[in-house]
Amino acid sequence: MRNPAIIPDNEPERYELREAPRYDFALTRRDLLSAAGAGILITVHRSTAIAQSTRPAQQSVAARVHIASDGRITVMTGKVEIGQGSRTQLTQAAAEELRAPVESIALIMADTELTPDDGGTAGSRTTPSTVPAVRKGAAAARQILIDLAARQWEADAGALRTEDGAVIDPASGRKLTYGELARSADFDPAFAQAVPDDVEVTATKDWKVLGTSVPRPDGRDVVTGAHRYPSDIVRPNMLYGRVLRPPSYGATLNELDLAPAQALAGVVAVRDGDFAGCAAPTSYGAGKAVEALAKAARWERPPQPSGSTLFEHLKRHAATGEGGGRTPRVNESGSIEEGLAAAGRTLRASYEVAYIQHAPMEPRAAVAEWEDGRLTVWTGTQQPMNVRRELAAAFHLPEERVRVIVPDTGGGFGGKHSGESAVEAARLAKAAGRPVSLRWTREEEFTWAYFRPAALIETGAGIVEDGQLLAWEFTNINSGASALRSPYDIPHTREQFLQSDSPLRQGSYRVLAATANNFARESFMDELAAACMRDPLEYRLAHLKDERMRAVLEAAAARFGWDERKKSRPSNRGVGLACGTEKGSYVAACVEVEVDRQEGAIRLLEVCQTFECGAIQNPENLKAQVTGCIIMTIGGALLEEIRFEGGRILNARFSRYRVPRFKDVPAMEIVLLNRPDLPSAGAGETPMIAVPPAVANAVFDAASVRIRSMPIRGAALRQA
C-alpha cells in the first residue's frame, strides 16, 4: 500500500544537483584507428541525467542472487557502501528472504560489469527502493529452491519449509541444502527466469533478521586495516598521479611547458586541452612534478565574484526560468495576495546559508587501468553508472568498454556523485601506458569538488489577531526545493525555488536544500510565535494537522521537558525547538545552548531528538545514522563556511575550516519512534534538518538576538 504521507515532493532525485562532465578529450588519429580496427561503433553519450531507477527493469533471479555448490550465497547490487550501512542492510534483506545465515551471504556491490543497475546511492533511496528489490530477488530465489526440492522429492512445494540455508520437508524430515540444489541440472535454467513482479516477501511481523542490529559484515577488515578503500587499491606496475590545478575558478590554460616536469626521473607529464597532470613512481614525485608544471604554466584568469557580495549576487541573478539543469518550482495554495491583504499584520525576514563542503575523510580517489582499449576504474563514487558514462564520453568509448568498480568508500554525504578523479586517473594512465592511482589532496577536495549550495531565503507571513497564520510566502534562491513545502496548515501559500548564478561549483549534499529550507522556516515560525507572544511549541501545534509530525514534536518536547525548562533556566542559557519532514520521514529536536555575549560564543549543550521513518529495519544502524546526522549538522549550524575571493577558496584546509570534533558533541538523547504499520523510509539524511533552526531559536531564547544565518555566528551577540 502506498503511504499517503509520501507526497510527490519525494520523487527521487528530482532536485539532486548535477554537473555537466568536465572533460571531453580530443580523439587522436590513433584512437580512431584502433577503435575502427576493433570494429567498434563509437557512440558518444553526453547525457548527464542522474538515472535513479525506482523500478529496475525485469531482472533475472541470477542477476541478483548466485548460489555456489558449497552453499555460499552471493547477492549483487549496484548500490555502494559509503558508511551509511547499505552493505549490512542489504545483506540482512537477502538473509531474511532466503532464510539463510547472514554469514553465508556475501554482497558484490557497485561493479558495472557484475551488478544490476540499482541507480545511484543517494536521496535515501536504498531503503525504499533497493531493499525491496533485493528482497524480491531473494524471495524469488527461495521459491525456486523450494520448487527444485519439490521436484526432486516429488513432494508438494506448499508443504516444504526453508531454514538455515536448506529446504526441509517437515513430513519426512528430508533436507536439501541450497548448495546441493545448486548442483542440480535444473538450477541454472530456473535462476535464469525473471523475478516475478508479484513475488511475496516476508511480512514485517515475521522478520527475524531485518529489524535487528546486525553488525557490519566486513567490520574485521576495517579494524585491522585490511579493507581496501578506493585510494588503497594497488595494481601491478602502478604509478601515482597528480593534476595541475588552475589558480582560480574559471581560469584557462594559455601556455604550458611540459619539459621541466618530464625531465624528472620516471615522470610522465601530459596536457590535453585544459587538463594537465603528471604520473610518477610515488605520489611525492608526482607532486614535485606538478610543482614544476605549475611554474611553467600561464593562465588566463577572468574576474570572479567574492564571498563578501555572495547574497547580493544570488539575488541579482535569481531567475524564474528554466536552465542550468535545474527546475524552478512554485507551490501555491489559495491566493497569497488575498491572504496577505486580509491579514492584520505582516512580517518578513530573510535568511542566508553559506556554502559548505562535505569533506569526507577519504578525498576523491581512483585507480585507472587500460587494457586492450578497455578501461577499468576503481573509484569512490555514489554514481557508478554515471561515472561509467562520464568516462565513456570523455574518452569517446562505448560504455561496454568501461568498467567502474566502487570499493566500500570513505564517506560521501552526497559529495561524490561525480567522477572527476576517475577521468583524471584514466587520462594519466592512458598517457603513461600503466595503471595510475590518483588521490586528491584535501586542498583539492575543498576547492575542486562541489559545495552544498549557498541559499538566500526570503520569507513573509500574514497573521490574524491571535497570531494564527493566514498567508505564507517562502522563496529559496539558489539552493533547491527539498522540503520547500511547509508542513503547517496555512490557507494561502506561495513557496518557490528560484535558481541563480552560483559563483562556486555546487551540487548535492546530504538531504540537499532541506536543511536550508527548514532552517529558514523553523526560525521564522519561532519569530512569528515570539511576535504573537505564544509558546513556540504550542504555536507550531496550533498549525499542525499531520499526525506523524505532531507525534515526533510532542515526543521530543515531552522527553526534553520543554514546558518546565522553557520557564526556568539560567540567564545565559536558552532552549529552542524545531521540527521537519523530508523524504517520508519525520524529525523534531529540542536543544539547550549556552551563550557568552562578551566572547560572542555559542555552545550547544544538549540535543533531544525524535525521529520516525516508518518500520525500523536495523535499530543500531539507524541510531548511528541519526547520531551522525546530528553531529554533522552541528558543523553547518555553528562552524562551517567556505570563504572565497576572486575565484579562490580562502580556507581549503581543516586548519581553517572547522568541522565537528569529539569536543563539539553535546549531551544527546535520541528517541526512535517505530511505526511497523508504515513502510520504511531512508534515514541517513532527514535527521540533519531539525538541529540548526532549534539552535538559532535557543540562541534567541538565551540572548534575545535573532541570528538569521547558517552558520549561526556568535559574533552577532557581541554587536547586539
Binding site: I82, P360, I631, S655, K663
Partner: protein
C-alpha cells in the same frame, strides 16, 4: 637525492631507498604496501594517518621517512597480537564503532596509545585525548564507548592476571 633508510615496521626491519623528505605515510602505503594508514589532510589536522612511533602516536603525514629511521613503528596492520585482535580493535568491533571506517585505524592506534599511558581514562580524558582525530561520519559517541569498553576489558584482564 635518494638515500637508504632503515625502518622497523611492525617488528620487522626493512630498508627503503627513497627521497628522505617523503612523508612516512607515503612510504608505508606506497613502498611497503601498508595501506591501512590513511591520508586525510596532510597537515596534522585529522590524525587519520596516525601510527605509533616508539609507542607514541604520530601523524605520519608530517614525519619524514628519514626522521622515522631506526625507530619502532607500529601501523594498524601490526597491532593484532598472537593472531588475536588488540583489545581496542576488539572493542571497536563489538561496539560497531565505524560507519565508513576510514578514520578507524587512526582512532584505534591513538586510543591504544591512550590506554598504554592511562589504562582507565574518564570520558572527559578520552574526549580530550582523541579530539585531534576527525570522523566525518561523526560516529564520535560510539568511538568513545569503544575506548571505554577497551579500558574495561583491560581492567578485567589485569584483574584476571593477578
Amino acid at each position: 637525492m635518494d638515500v637508504t633508510v632503515d625502518l622497523n615496521v611492525n617488528g620487522r626491519s626493512t630498508t627503503v631507498t627513497t627521497d628522505p623528505d617523503r612523508p612516512l605515510l607515503d612510504v608505508l602505503r606506497e613502498d611497503l604496501g601498508l595501506t591501512g594508514t590513511k591520508y586525510g589532510c596532510g597537515e596534522g589536522q585529522c590524525r587519520t594517518c596516525t601510527v605509533l612511533v616508539d609507542g607514541r602516536p604520530v601523524t605520519s603525514c608530517l614525519m619524514t621517512v628519514s626522521r622515522a629511521a631506526g625507530r619502532k613503528i607500529v601501523t594498524i596492520e601490526g597491532l593484532a597480537r598472537e593472531g588475536g585482535l588488540h583489545p581496542v580493535q576488539e572493542a571497536f568491533l563489538s561496539e560497531g564503532a565505524m560507519q565508513c571506517g576510514y578514520c578507524v585505524p587512526g582512532m584505534i592506534l591513538n586510543a591504544a596509545a591512550l590506554l598504554e599511558t592511562n589504562p582507565d581514562p574518564s570520558d572527559e580524558q578520552i574526549v580530550e585525548w582523541m579530539n585531534g582525530n576527525l570522523c566525518r561520519c561523526c560516529g564520535y559517541p560510539k568511538i568513545v564507548a569503544a575506548v571505554r569498553r577497551a579500558a574495561a576489558a583491560g581492567a578485567l584482564s589485569r584483574r584476571g592476571e593477578r
